[in-house]
Symmetry: C2
Subunit: 714 residues, 2 copies
Amino acid sequence: MTHAEATEADPAAAAASLSAVFAPRSVAVIGSSRKQGTIGRAILDNLIRDGFKGPIYPIHPVAPELAGRPCARSVLAVGKPIDLAIVAVPAAAVEDVVRDCASAGVRAVVVISAGFAEVGEDGRAAEQRLHDLARASGMRLVGPNCMGVLSTAPDVRLDATFSPAFPPAGNISFATQSGALGLAMIDHARALELGIADFISIGNRADVSTNDLLAYWQHEPHTRVIALYLESFGNPHAFARLAPQVSREKPIVAVKSGRSAAGTRAASSHSASLASLDIGIDALFAQTGVIRVDTLEQLFDVAGLLSSQPSPLGRRVGVVTNAGGPGILLADACAAQGLTLPTLSDETMLALRSFLPSQASVTNPVDMIASAPPDHFEQAIRLVGAEPDIDAVIAIYVPPLVTQPEEVAAAIARAAGSLPATKPIATVFMSSKGTPAVLSRGPRGKIPSYSFPENAAMALAAAVRHQEWCDRPVGAPAELSRKQVDAVRDWAHHVVPHDGWVSFESIATLLEIIGVRVAPSRSCAPDPDVAAAIAGELGFPIVLKANARHVLHKTDVGGVALGLTDESEVLASARAMIDRIGHVEGFTIQKQIPAGVEAIVGLTSDPSLGPLLVAGIGGVAVELYKDVAFRVTPVTDRDVDAMLGDLRGKALLDGFRGSHPVSRDALREVMLRIGALAEVLHEIAELDINPLIVLPDPRGAIAVDARLRMKPRK
Amino acid sequence: MTHAEATEADPAAAAASLSAVFAPRSVAVIGSSRKQGTIGRAILDNLIRDGFKGPIYPIHPVAPELAGRPCARSVLAVGKPIDLAIVAVPAAAVEDVVRDCASAGVRAVVVISAGFAEVGEDGRAAEQRLHDLARASGMRLVGPNCMGVLSTAPDVRLDATFSPAFPPAGNISFATQSGALGLAMIDHARALELGIADFISIGNRADVSTNDLLAYWQHEPHTRVIALYLESFGNPHAFARLAPQVSREKPIVAVKSGRSAAGTRAASSHSASLASLDIGIDALFAQTGVIRVDTLEQLFDVAGLLSSQPSPLGRRVGVVTNAGGPGILLADACAAQGLTLPTLSDETMLALRSFLPSQASVTNPVDMIASAPPDHFEQAIRLVGAEPDIDAVIAIYVPPLVTQPEEVAAAIARAAGSLPATKPIATVFMSSKGTPAVLSRGPRGKIPSYSFPENAAMALAAAVRHQEWCDRPVGAPAELSRKQVDAVRDWAHHVVPHDGWVSFESIATLLEIIGVRVAPSRSCAPDPDVAAAIAGELGFPIVLKANARHVLHKTDVGGVALGLTDESEVLASARAMIDRIGHVEGFTIQKQIPAGVEAIVGLTSDPSLGPLLVAGIGGVAVELYKDVAFRVTPVTDRDVDAMLGDLRGKALLDGFRGSHPVSRDALREVMLRIGALAEVLHEIAELDINPLIVLPDPRGAIAVDARLRMKPRK
């Protein structure tokens, strides 16, 4: 059993065990030296500098003391209980040290030392031994190849990193797969006055994983927002189960790097993890409610809002500004993010008019002009915030004229206190001097402040989307019936793929087992006369397809003939195909389906995430316009609805330019069944139903062609 | 003649006249008061504080001195030549003051005072009088309703703003339509150490316009980069002619706000300018080489790179980093922006291996790991920069471990000096302490530094795209022949639109005049028998269309029948249409064109930019996927090529899934002729050729249906 599995088996216990990492009562540091600036010594110095609340035990083989603290020769010689040990010895010595820790009853170790899975086969083996040691002893292990852990909880104050400074205490807990990046972020958090709860550099994740951390932080009282920097997923299936539960309680904001081929190459060369298809990650995050951001700056911007403000209950934003330009930019950015700026009520406009100068604009944005004094900010925010049609307020201050940012910040802070508790407020202080501290000292507490209007809009929109995700009912996962599952297994037992590819006839059998209708069709040898005879039996009009394994797209080579109305036409077409294509392995003769909306439904396999359900609309458009949506299986009815909602061509389903609306329900049903199939038939490498013809109710959706490749049998 | 027209008539003289604004030899300030903090006084104080190099004349009706300088009672009483007068008196007094300035031979005035076109009809009239005064006297006028002008030229040092501080001198000249935003940007430029040359708040643009400024800065020696914040265009046609010339010499970076409906509403309420369709602005900027950025932050990021670095000659980026995570993020951001990270040559990798530790990665990004000392940065940048396959270098420094940012910055500065002069370098310093000043003190001078990797990638990509635009040959504008122009004019003289709409037959005549082929067709009264007879004359197969002015999309209501093969089919179809649609005004009987690629070519009219050429591919896809491109007319052959390049569905033209390639040239030719038509026939409100069937060579492109609405005659 891996630790990941252990986490799944008893998540509460696994989570509780991480309290030794973030809230230890005592810490040992192994690998400190007398020389300042070395890693182990820097950590020891930070533990002391930042005032760790428990005893600190430096471990050194010979030195009697380090940094003014008496040393023990090993953890075994300390003679007191040790919750957490920080290991910063050369890679070759790590295993013995970790074994000592286990023997001494240490509850958790953080292995800073590099030189494990990231450097090759020997390192991988050594890392596996660390994993096994941790497993056997029940001791939790962070790293190896990491840059430490930190907690700002006032009764802990743990700084087991080499960060140049301790971050401000707060409620954002942050896990990073890149240690250096993480420490830079901690540094930045200080500059932006973003409060951190816990920080962890997860390194190679020999034991403690992102999933463990999610489970821990879900119930950790200091944590309100979880921020992640990820390069890869260890156990995406556990993540898929866990993240939605956590997301509903505490928003998870994530940067997942390695989107591009170049990024993946860099990621692979940098850590020992598999590349993942970015599209799968997008799907996974969309399903699990994780707020994916593109940049580190956005990670800060979004986390800053969520850490201090309620999530808005809707998309309607009220803007109060003392400069027109930034107001317009904010309005543009809101629109681009799907937020709206409703016009204010007549009463509110009248009330604003009563004190604002005539040049001011009392629509939304409320532009109070450059000379607006602090009390105008206060009154305008109160009025706009009290509007029932406003879900969130953004105040913009530009110090152009009479510079009194302190007074304006204080006025905004007072006004924020009057807002209904459900309405968030954010500010844009366009001043190089930054935002006065007094902004966050009002009744609302911390109020986020941005340097540019666009950042405020982006952060607010992320919060809105997350709230909408939380408000969505939990979907029901699609499942096949017991009988269908048995039939699928039986099918899989008997199917004989060629180079992994399954014949259309076999695919049709499989689809019919799970209740997906297939156009009546039969296959035969490459004999035109036989094909014509079969056509006669099926009935006209007929579609004739040439089967040739070397041809990916039959239409590219004239391998499909539509609308054949009698046997002689079938005969002539079949002969022409053999002439044109050469190596035809057989024919498929199919009853022609009436025109409808062409859709594609299928499965693809992500190397790290497993099967993805794919759906798209519109034949050529799928390829030209990439109008497809993905979700990680298992999928729920809600996921399927969200997929259809994501398609730009969805209007085709509802009747477009005179065509009849087709059965959305039939398409949904096929998607759900294919999604459920992925959970039963793990051997599918890829499956395309293309086209699936979706017809008006009640005729449903009918598969016309399909391709299926099975994974090699082990 | 407006000043804009004057600028066109003699741009050199118009530009030269702006030297009185940015490089005056003397300045008068009208409207200063004894009270500090008022606008006029703040400007006077700033002129003194920031060391204006010429005499400063405070003007006050009674005060004998202000800020220690003797006052004159009016500009007429100064008795010395005055280049520039700053006017900050109440709106009602502005006209007299400006008249005095003209009488006193003042060369330029900056009217700070608000209360003109932005407040209503009276203000608009007053502003027109200011315009006329300036015109009559030849004196240039900035504003009204602006926040002043500034120049950092060492022999000028003009600060006629109320900015809290003087920005660092540099080569970025900045014009802003929002004064408050502009001053906030100046403030930010200081914090980011971005050097400013000239700054101007253009206010209501009664006289001096963005176009005047472009013409001036094109030849102004301190200016290397032009930055614009725009909310509207005064004279887009002059801009379209001028901007490409300027862009080729000095890059123009612009934020154009008011993209969204909400933004436009805010813009309109804030200044006296018309809303413009954002799509037209995008087209205009693409044609004129203007670098459009989405946010203020991007404006800084791009201007900072262009102001100090050569434009890269290609898209290949070399990355040197001491932290893996930011390297991956940068690689991702580069890929998203169309930049590549080529693998380094074997020699370079070998050379990097010779000094980097074994855990380092010598692919691209070169990840030197956290412990990299300054000399590793220096050597790695030299090696990567020397690679012939690398066009630009980005260095990332994260101070995780041994913090020596000063030394690393100095090493990067030294290495930058070794780069070929054609290769730009940018840095990412992920430290809250910012970037050490020593980075910009090496042989390369100023080196841009970003807080996050994504910003560096975005800025570099903007520079690459601009360079590619500059390298594109100048296109030849499409023109109709003299004979065609005469025929078009004659057609326009005789056409009889209904409610602006022109009949298909008339449109066909027009298209044939300009050499666009139209499927043979005739129209008739709503008489099925007549339609059938005409079909017999044209020859089969036939397309029958019902004409009904109340129907926008004929196919929506079954108003089009395809592939009718004899007269009886035409008869039956026509009868059915009358039954179905009701009020059919007539029929169009058209020879059916063979299947090809459906395209759309047309004209639309932007309220501020005038006619836009539009082109797209693919019937329903145009509407579902909005796969269309726009350009402001007149268009060149290069514009048309760029439009086709922008279409996501362009692969359809080249033969897709077994279809034949169709004539790209024929499509281009139609686009050019329609573009040229717009220049001749200004009465076109909108024109759609939809579909235009594009066939394989040599059959060309044939218009099958078209709609044309003319503007109301005046």
